[in-house]
Structure formats: structure tokens, C-alpha cells
């Protein structure tokens, strides 16, 4: 049984989507339990790849294939997880107005999904009202704002102000190349992370503080 759990973890780490799906199906047939497969095999595997990425020991391609295997595995698992689902929380994610860059945001999405979050990616180059509308519509636990340019990151405080006018307690995370912890503090963001994997750690930290 432990061997099968290790195999599932290895398939996620090496980004073998088909193998991950087949092994997870096998695990379900052998009554390993969906929650156990998720929490003891898949999430630790994704976590390990994320940590290696943060340390510079693996690069974006390895992170992407692991995230894709995780996503494929979750598709198999989700129908068996019951009403609670994966259960980490819900995040709405988007890139601020004027900024069409997407890869940073997309990596954050992949890592958050790998950590069990439900992520609603609302896209790039979004005006403030789009964030407000999405916040009202999806009632996320966290709103994530991304920007690649120092000129576009100046639009983040406007979004924070508008969303907090709707929900003063809104948890809002910011990130992207020019964004720093100092800037995040200055504009009143709830959290900042320097890379996609650390964004999942920060999101978990913010939610555990509720």
C-alpha cells in the first residue's frame, strides 16, 4: 500500500500524467481513500517540486509537468472527495490593467491548484471593476493580483481600495517581478510572495490565520 502511495508521488514529481491517473485509479480500487491519496501522496509530492523550484534546483518546465500531473490526478480524484472537495480554499487570480503578461500568474495558479486550492483565473489586463465584479461573484477566500511591470503595479492599490470598499476584510495577495514586500506593505496588501510556490505557502498562512 505504501509502495503505491510512493509510486503516485513519484508520478506527480516526474510529471507523468497518464501514470499518475492510472495509479490513483488503482489506489481508489484498493481503498486507499481519496483524501489520503491527496494529502499523503499528491500534495507532498507537489510541495517537494515547489520547494526544489524555490531553491533553484528545478526549473519552470519541471514545475509545469508536475502541476499538469497533479491536475490530471485531481480530475480522477475529485468525484470521490465528497462535498468538502479538496478544501484548501478559493482564490480569484488576475493581472492588473495594462499588463498582458500571464506566465507568472499562470504558474501561481498551477501551484495553488497543486496545493488543493480552487482557483478562478479571471485573466490579464483587467480593469479594477473586473476584480470587484469577480470578487462579488465568487466570494473568494483570497484575491490575487499580478503585475510584471513597475508601471502597471501602480494600479494594484486602486484595486485593493475598490475591493476593500466591498469587503473591508478582503485578503488580497500581490506578486510579480517588480513587486516587493515593502511595496505590498505600503499599499496594504495582505500578503506577498516572491515566487509561485511561496505564494501557496503564503495563501495557506493567510487562511490559517482566520
Amino acid at each position: 500500500m505504501q509502495e503505491l502511495m510512493s509510486k503516485i508521488a513519484d508520478a506527480i514529481k516526474t510529471g507523468e500524467e497518464e501514470q499518475a491517473k492510472a495509479l490513483i485509479e488503482e489506489g481508489l480500487r484498493e481503498n486507499l481513500g481519496p483524501a489520503r491519496i491527496l494529502k499523503d501522496a499528491m500534495m507532498p509530492a507537489m510541495n517537494e517540486v515547489g520547494m526544489l523550484f524555490s531553491k533553484g534546483e528545478v526549473f519552470i518546465p519541471e514545475l509545469i509537468v508536475a502541476a499538469m500531473a497533479m491536475e490530471a490526478g485531481l480530475e480522477v480524484l475529485k468525484p470521490h472527495l465528497g462535498e468538502e472537495g479538496v478544501g484548501s480554499g478559493r482564490v480569484v487570480l488576475g493581472t492588473v490593467y495594462g499588463d498582458i503578461h500571464s506566465i507568472g500568474k499562470n504558474l501561481v495558479r498551477m501551484c495553488l491548484e497543486g496545493a488543493g486550492f480552487e482557483v478562478i483565473d479571471i485573466g490579464e489586463d483587467l480593469r479594477t471593476e473586473k476584480f470587484v465584479d469577480a470578487y462579488k461573484e465568487h466570494s473568494p477566500d483570497i484575491l490575487g493580483l499580478s503585475a510584471l511591470l513597475s508601471s502597471t503595479m501602480q494600479r494594484m492599490p486602486e484595486v485593493i481600495e475598490a475591493v476593500r470598499a466591498v469587503d473591508p476584510g478582503a485578503l488580497i495577495m500581490v506578486g510579480g517581478a517588480p513587486v516587493t514586500q515593502e511595496f505590498a506593505d505600503e499599499i496594504g496588501a495582505s500578503g506577498y510572495a516572491p515566487d509561485a510556490f511561496e505564494a501557496t505557502l503564503k495563501a495557506n498562512e493567510l487562511l490559517s490565520g482566520i
Partner: protein, 365 residues
């Protein structure tokens, strides 16, 4: 010594009379705002795509005026790819790639003619058109031999992911479909070699190979993946440029540290822009200064947009002290003069380069 001689001497790792000053790119808004310091004859503030032909010509003339007034040593031309409108926010280029228009002036492909190995046959070669070099032709006409003509051209990595409309997709295929990745790079490189031929024929002295390979923390691919999927194409391009008797440097934002050795080995003559948040120019100069001319490093993320003119001057002084002694350094911003940069700060940067940039450099390091 004229600007072109100054730039070429820096590339030869020799000391010119003063540190050359040059810039990879100015956006429309930057050209107009800077141009107002030197002329009243500037076009209205809007994107080039929304300008009439007359306004576009005026924009180009404003750029030439500011290059002349600021006595820059080189002028950069970009490739103006022929496109047709798809809708209000998107255009399609000759490869069939759909680009989203942005207020920041950069075209980024959001969809390509290929989605994966199964439909590779949809990638039909596109050949360069002379009209796409109109900016180079105008620059050459205005500055026939006194300035270095730098032509910014696409690189094989960026063009490969643009064929797919997504960088993530290409990086996924790095792990899954090596032959497909090589096929995309091959198509991109064949086009780039044709572009080089045309650029050189029209007067280019230096090719700037565009396309980021890194982000703030590290490179987009591992050094081994760079060696496998990018290096051979870079080498082919640099050899081609050298056969034509011209120079080529690599541009990438971010921390290119893990692949710097590969960039030097691929035969590039220079490296731009040494983003100061990610790389230390003193270390880059010490490690690669004998093989690569270093260009850039004046911060356009915080300093040029939000700093004071005094802070800009101090940064220029420190950067010249670190990178200019012995030659092999060309000063520029750490990317481009984008709309967020204060024009006063850019002018302060150029003036400080003149103040501290005379050789031999006499600033305490």
C-alpha cells in the same frame, strides 16, 4: 570619434573617448514626452497603432530629434511586423499568430498556428518583408554613418513559444516532446537568419537578439535545457552574423546567471541589460567582461520612474565606476525607456553619463 566608432570600440573591449550612451527602445509615450523637451512638433499622445501615417512619421522624427539632441551613440530599430486587425484588441501576423495589443506597447502572442506536435504542419514559413524594416531604413537615412544602427530582432526561444501562443506550453513540451521543440526552434531560426540578412543589407551594424530567457529569480529553463534547446540555434545565429561582419548581443531581463556561460559560449558579442535587481554588474564584468561587452544596468523599474535626478546621477556614477574601466561597457537603462520613466530622469541619466564617462575613467570604485 563618432557614435558608431564609440559603440564598436566598446564591443572590441577597448576604451573609446567616452562611455557610449544608447537605448534598446523607447515607447511611443516616452518618445513624445522626451521629444517635448526639444521640439514642439510632436504627434498627439497615443499608440502607434492608432496613429495616422502622418503622425507615425512625426513620431519617428521626434525620436530622431531626441537621439540627435541627446547625442546618443547608437539608434535602435524594431521590426514592424505586418499585421491585420482581428478585433479591437487583437492583430494577426504573417505567421498566423494572434497578438494582444497593450497600453504598454508590447505585442504578445496569445494564440499561434500550432497547438502541439499533431498540428505542426500548420506552421507555414513566413518570409521577411522589406517594409517591416521601415524604421531601420528611416534611421539609416537620417544617420547614415555617424551612429551605430542596432536592429532588435526576435530570438528563437521567444518566437518558438509565440508559435504556440503560450510560453508555458513550450516549456511543457521541453519535458515531453524534444523533437517538436526543435522543429519550432528550426522554423524560428530559419526566419531569424533571413531577417539578419535583410537587416544587414539595409544597414544594420549590430543585432540585438530579443526574447527573455530569465525572470527575477532565475532562468526560465535549466542550463541543461538551454544547452539542448536554445544554444545550438543561438550559435547558428551568431556565426551567421559574424560571417556578415557584424556584431550581435543577447538581451534578456531577469537573472540570467545560470546560462551566462552558455550565452558567452554561443558566440554573442555582448549582453544586455544586466537588470540590477537580479544581477551584479561588477560580477558580470569580472566574470564575462573579457568575452562580452556589457550593456545596460541603469534601473528602469524604480529609479528612472520614481527616483530623483540626483539619485539617477549617483547610480550612473557608480555603474560607470564598476563597469566602464578598460572599455566593454555601453550605458543604457535596465530594459527600455517605457512610459513609466520620468523623462527628466532619462535626461539626467544621459547628462551624468557625459559627466562621468570620459576615458580614462576617474571615479573611485
Amino acid at each position: 570619434m563618432n557614435g558608431k566608432e564609440r559603440m564598436l570600440k566598446a564591443f572590441m573591449h577597448e576604451e573609446p573617448d567616452r562611455v557610449p550612451v544608447w537605448e534598446l527602445a523607447f515607447n511611443e509615450a516616452s518618445i513624445i514626452k522626451l521629444g517635448r523637451f526639444f521640439t514642439d512638433d510632436v504627434p498627439p499622445l497615443k499608440f502607434a497603432q492608432e496613429m495616422t501615417m502622418e503622425e507615425k512619421v512625426k513620431l519617428l522624427n521626434t525620436l530622431f530629434t531626441l537621439v540627435r539632441e541627446l547625442e546618443l551613440d547608437g539608434i535602435s530599430s524594431i521590426l514592424l511586423l505586418g499585421t491585420e486587425p482581428v478585433d479591437q484588441d487583437h492583430v494577426k501576423d504573417g505567421w498566423g499568430r494572434i497578438h494582444r495589443l497593450s497600453e504598454e506597447g508590447e505585442l504578445t502572442a496569445v494564440a499561434g498556428p500550432v497547438s502541439g506536435p499533431a498540428d505542426l504542419k500548420n506552421l507555414k514559413p513566413y518570409h521577411p518583408q522589406q517594409s517591416e524594416f521601415i524604421m531601420l531604413m528611416a534611421a539609416k537615412g537620417n544617420f547614415p554613418d555617424e551612429l551605430a544602427q542596432v536592429v532588435v530582432q526576435p530570438g528563437p526561444f521567444r518566437e518558438s513559444w509565440m508559435f504556440l501562443g503560450s510560453m508555458e506550453k513550450l516549456l511543457y513540451y521541453y519535458m515531453k516532446e524534444p523533437e517538436f521543440v526543435h522543429a519550432l526552434a528550426r522554423a524560428a531560426t530559419d526566419w531569424i537568419l533571413e531577417l539578419v540578412d535583410m537587416a544587414v543589407e539595409l544597414g544594420a551594424d549590430i543585432i540585438a537578439l530579443d526574447g527573455d530567457l530569465a525572470f527575477s529569480q532565475t532562468t526560465l529553463m535549466s542550463p541543461a535545457q538551454y544547452e539542448e534547446y536554445v544554444f545550438p540555434y543561438h550559435q547558428e545565429i551568431t556565426e551567421h552574423v559574424h560571417r556578415l561582419g557584424k556584431l550581435i548581443f543577447k538581451h534578456t531581463d531577469g537573472n540570467a546567471g545560470p546560462i551566462m556561460e552558455g550565452i558567452a559560449a554561443a558566440g554573442f558579442d555582448g549582453f544586455h541589460p544586466v537588470q540590477p535587481q537580479c544581477m551584479d554588474i561588477g560580477e558580470v564584468k569580472a566574470d564575462y567582461g573579457d568575452r562580452l561587452c556589457i550593456l545596460g544596468n541603469i534601473d528602469c523599474m524604480y529609479l528612472l520612474p520614481f527616483g530623483s535626478e540626483e539619485e539617477v546621477e549617483q547610480s550612473v556614477k557608480e555603474t560607470i565606476a564598476a563597469a566602464a574601466p578598460g572599455g566593454g561597457y555601453i550605458i543604457s537603462s535596465s530594459n527600455s525607456i517605457h512610459p513609466g520613466c520620468r523623462p527628466e530622469n532619462y535626461i539626467a541619466m544621459v547628462r551624468a553619463a557625459r559627466k562621468y564617462g570620459d576615458y580614462p575613467i576617474r571615479i573611485e570604485g
